[in-house]
């Protein structure tokens, strides 16, 4: 009971932490969407040597992103950016790390969506004289994004669920906020329970949206 009182005292700070969690995840998912789309377009290239090399690099990139822990990726990006002499804040490094990670997953989601578009559609557009970029921008991708919208929301949930790992870079999102308050107040469990409930509300809420999107599709 004491613990609960302490937690309630710090409600504004906790909510601020939640705000940062949502913000950092939203920024990451938007950049990831751009990265994922870009990777998908680059993967469409023909069989010329340069485009084969590009495709190979992308394949390796996606494989690495999907097969290694996000925590390790966060450390690598943070250290790599520092070694490159870029004087970026931990926050920016964290957003970049999450975006690069999620971008790999989104590229795969988009690839799945692309297979659902009949070839005849691009052929029809090409026969009408549309240029390739125009076909992608006006015919293909609008449909793909519609098809994969439930998966993209699920990916947003995933980003939120991995965002606590940014606490290792001392980014003051929800989990880091709780840790700070714990060292300050010597109350531990109630804070972790409180943030677990908040994460649950956000993620379970987003899952309802996924359900709605699936119903629409």
């Amino acid at each position: 009971m004491e613990g609960l009182k302490t937690v309630l005292e710090y409600t504004p700070l906790i909510l601020k932490g939640l705000g940062y969690t949502v913000l950092v995840s939203a920024e990451a998912i938007v950049i990831a969407l751009i990265i994922g789309t870009l990777l998908s377009v680059l993967r469409m290239g023909g069989n010329s040597l340069p485009s084969r090399i590009v495709k190979g690099i992308i394949k390796v990139y996606i494989s690495f992103v999907r097969d290694t822990p996000v925590l390790v990726q966060i450390y690598i990006i943070y250290q790599a950016l520092a070694v490159m002499g870029l004087n970026l804040s931990a926050y920016v490094s964290g957003v970049i790390a999450l975006s690069l990670n999620s971008g790999g997953f989104i590229a795969e989601i988009i690839r799945g969506g692309l297979t659902a578009i009949p070839k005849g559609q691009t052929e029809a557009a090409a026969a009408l004289g549309m240029s390739k970029p125009k076909i992608l921008a006006r015919i293909v991708f609008p449909q793909v994004f519609k098809i994969v919208s439930p998966q993209l929301t699920s990916e947003f949930i995933n980003v939120i669920k991995v965002s606590p790992m940014l606490s290792v870079l001392a980014i003051v999102e929800l989990t880091r906020t709780a840790q700070r308050l714990i060292t300050q107040t010597y109350v531990t469990l109630p804070f972790y329970i409180a943030i677990a409930v908040l994460y649950f509300i956000v993620c379970a809420g987003l899952e309802e949206i996924v359900k709605l999107q699936k119903k629409k599709a």
């Binding site: 494989s63 690495f64 999907r66 097969d67 290694t68 822990p69 996000v70 925590l71 390790v72 990726q73 450390y75 690598i76 250290q79 790599a80 520092a82 070694v83 949930i157 939120i160 669920k161 991995v162 965002s163 606590p164 790992m165 606490s167 290792v168 989990t175 531990t188 469990l189 972790y192 329970i193 943030i195 677990a196 994460y199 649950f200 993620c203 379970a204 899952e207």
Partner: protein, 219 residues
Amino acid sequence: MNDFIHVASISLPMLLQGLSLTVEISVLSIIFAFIGGLLVGYMCISPNKLVEGIARVFIKIFRCTPFMVQVYLAYYGLPSLGINVSAFGTGVLILSLYTSAYAAVILESGVKAIPKGQYEAAAALGMPRLKILCRIILPQTIRMIVPSLTGQFVQTVKDSSILSIITVAEMTMMTKEAIGITFSPLFVYICAGVLYWALNLVIEFISGRIEKKYNRVRI
């Protein structure tokens, strides 16, 4: 160059030691999670609404909160419940519970994909429900979900890295230790990344072989 060789000679043995614990934790957790998933999945298809509800709540809680927060909750929560286990035990326990929520969903969707007639044919021949599930439904389900289960295994290997925050000496934890000695974080982290990558590629390769074997039998 000499620097790298020096750093590698110190850190690689440490990383490999961590890797073996990562493998151990992952294998234990995926086995426990499979058993747990069977149980929770079985509850999900129970005709008893209360039993089903309990299973659904379990799944929802574990799937809708970050694993890292679950790890902290288990680490600080278990002792206050009077349960004193090692960090390793806590890690395996929470990773198994978390993974079993996902395994249950995979199993349930697999079971639902089996045509109803498969069940009815066995029921019409007089087979009891549990026997139908074990001998007719489950063998077919498992063949179908091998890809998803391996995907989950890869995920479990990755999730195990988070146990480094509660001092389980798996590979990510050992990476930090090695960095403490060698002071070359980027290189050692990349080494760890490559090792995780290699491990998961091996898992995916083996899964591909298993899948092929099943597909050969079932034309």
